[in-house]
Symmetry: D2
Subunit: 284 residues, 4 copies
């Protein structure tokens, strides 16, 4: 895990020679490719690629790589996301009263499963302050009510800016962020407590119970202005039976939510997710 790598995600219009083009450039600079995965969306005539190679021994430094990737984008009319495995993004975790996802994520960071820094936790309730304290992570209480929503979102944006946050994770935040907020800070992953698109909106476990489904799910997705309609990264499911009451669905759901969110976040952090056409390609 300590090997430093360069990770290039690339999308461009499909044509012959693209794999060769990218790989030849890397080879010409002495790059040793560890993973390379390509996908052609035949319907949309798009080429998607994720290539990861060793930074050590590569003839370009990070700045030079950035410059050359810009040229590549122009030449191939594409869009690149360039990352370096040793640059850990700053991630703010948003919570409310429920602790299961927060404890899980902080434990995983500590265990080295998630390559990210957590400079702060933002919450609209104070319940989880002690957990953050145990993990020595700053806890910021930004209370939200129907009268102060714009103001509280403004405070949150200030914090995200102050702490240089790259990504927000809504770990059972239970608040809907405004379109205005999302325009200013669009990098957010959410965990929804249903198998989307079933049971959108409020109280999905109650909805699931009423419908009498035999499986319940959880969905981790990028946040967009359309509620619960953002690109899906990961979904998990669990069996339920007539013996399960709503409280059992909620309990089982906690396990689904923890796992789906952690997996989605890990995939995102390993830069294995490319968003396109309102969907994700997940290179595993």
């Amino acid at each position: 895990m300590s090997i430093k790598t360069v990770i290039l995600q690339f999308i461009c219009p499909d044509k012959p020679g693209l794999v060769s083009d990218l790989a030849s450039w890397i080879a010409s600079k002495n790059g040793n490719i560890r993973h390379a995965d390509h996908h052609t969306d035949a319907d949309a005539k798009l080429f998607l690629s994720r290539i990861e190679w060793d930074l050590d021994g590569f003839l370009l430094d990070k700045n030079e790589i950035t410059s050359e990737v810009n040229l590549l984008e122009q030449r191939l009319n594409g869009k690149a996301v360039l990352s370096f495995s040793d640059d850990f993004p700053n991630v703010a975790i948003f919570v409310s009263k429920q602790s299961h996802c927060l404890v899980d994520l902080l434990w995983r960071v500590k265990a080295g499963e998630l390559c990210m820094n957590v400079p702060l936790v933002i919450s609209n309730h104070s319940d989880l302050e002690e957990i953050c304290s145990n993990f020595s992570i700053p806890f910021k209480l930004i209370q939200v009510n129907k009268n102060n929503k714009a103001d509280s979102e403004s405070k949150i944006l200030d914090l995200l800016h102050e702490y240089n946050i790259d990504l927000g994770v809504l770990a059972k935040y239970m608040q809907i962020l405004s379109s205005s907020f999302l325009e200013q800070f669009p990098n957010l992953i959410n965990i929804h407590h249903s198998f989307l698109p079933a049971f959108k909106g409020a109280q999905p476990y109650h909805q699931a119970w009423d419908r009498g489904v035999k499986l319940i799910g959880a969905t981790a997705h990028y946040v967009t202005k359309d509620l619960d309609a953002g690109p899906i990264i990961e979904q998990t499911i669990s069996n339920v039976s007539h013996r399960d009451e709503v409280s059992d669905l909620i309990r089982k759901g906690r396990d689904l939510e923890r796992v789906a969110l952690a997996r989605a976040l890990r995939l995102h952090l390993k830069r294995q997710v490319i968003v396109y056409r309102g969907r994700t390609a997940v290179f595993t």
Copy 2:
């Protein structure tokens, strides 16, 4: 599997002593209980029970059992479904052009997995006639178009009556049966090609692809007048990725549909399913 049993499904208002009441009656007639499973729906204050005991050695014959169960219903203000494991129901399979569920069901009947007779297959297209012929099962072609729907449903009802059919299985029938039909023949199980309630209606695999889900499903359910809203018996799921095109979802879905339908049908035939409150209790 050759042991003959009596199976009693019973629903009534909950109160203390019900398990004892049912079990004592069976014991008093020398019944040896093989399976007994009870469920209390605390919210609805309902008692649900499924008890299966040996017919051999029981002091009552089938007619006497039926009479006494009627008395039981009256005394406990309940509703019973009484069955005998050696009475195989007559099941009509409805198909259209797709063969996967039909072949699977007929193979399972032959292999002894499904305790039912199949006196006929009903179809609106002739494509699957040869398969039925291979299994020596009568195939009835009842063509359906927008002008003859009432007439064709009438012909089907005649066939169901003529062949003394207890249950219909919609094994990719692809036609919506009218409310009038369902009033006259309500005992139907359908396989829907999505993880209900997601992707109701037409072309669920196209819908699923568009939404970019990471899991697809199939749902076997009893048919009601509300399309795709009947009580769910069984759901199955499979992973999908961005590499799967709609045709791959359809292919993977066939496996899900076969398994979900076969499992649901087996549960129904073993009288393990009780429908109540628009849901099912499945005693496994």
Copy 3:
């Protein structure tokens, strides 16, 4: 969940009338049965039953119930385990250096998912002391090496006695307890990091990688003198691919281990598990 119940697990030689016998006794004392599940092992001619009824309104108090259940055992030549849902057992968690199961279990206890007290954590290393401190749980360091095994086990037994421990949970304890220890304290649940009986013994993830399996698993089981051969309570699995290195299997395995152990422990605590013939019946 706050309703107080009596839970009776009962095994005896099978014969007609047993369900009636048990249920009639409960009904005669005004017991309202919430769950009743029975299983007949036809091969072994054994009757297994789990019945749960309301303590409130029942005409006998706990002592009287205990006395009458003893009479029941004698009369039916059976073996009963009687429990009361408001009696939380005292559970000692055994750990070593790995924290994932410990954090998970302590979080679940706090969240109310596991009805047990944790009076102490026992470890052969000091690494996890801080976690216990965060949860305000006494941490007892009992170092083990090849020269002091008998002595350390003796110290552990003293602790189990002192703290009135009902059950031990080996949450990645990584030590093999001696036969002598197990004779004195046989109530132990272990989490094994493989899909038993595959990959018994040491380094199962290395074994799994070498064999090139496509699924890995974890197994929660009761501890017996035969290593990794005790009655299985719960098994979980996860997909793996050629891209997963041993370290990935270990990481994925941690999630499997947490879930399998937590589920098994919950089943045990809800008295849903009956051990017989070296196997378990799990009444869900």
Copy 4:
């Protein structure tokens, strides 16, 4: 699916520039890559690659491609497997008395799920002759007993030669092929009715029942001289409970076997499987 493609599987010692090397060659001949997937086994210092590109528009014909790939092997000290999507291999299915896998495979071939020809079915019993007849596939009865094993294997080898068979599929053949046979015809896929390496050898479902596992499995693998130890292609699992008798495990296992074998065979036919180090890399 009707697009003709070239599929190159390639293994060689790892070094920088390999992706570029392969992709540049394809690009230089005007090849449009549809799928390209590479894996580096860091531990073994091996590079594995699967590249699929359009045959139409490619500047080389099949013979020329074959020649150039030979040169590639020499230059990179590698081993290639070259295939063309429109060359359907000839596959012989080996069966005994159980029909579930045979019916499933023949149905899938007919449905277009499996790109292969089935010139004949070989069996040591006559039970399944009628099924083959329904699908218009020649059925060859080669009886095997303890006295004629060498002779019967010799007859089978003659048939494989006569029908120009590329691959054999042991679809519940229930006979162990000799080392001598495997030396002469090593291309075989088998379905084993357990979650290998658990329950090797005979009667795995009986073994599984005795052990009281909570999940059973099936394993599709390439055949090697070590019984049940060949490279695993696919594994499937299903839940079981104490209520399942051995006959239920066998029934549930049939579904697992059908699916695992069909998936493995499809992966093999799509040339998505590379065997190395006694394991498989499955490029999905």
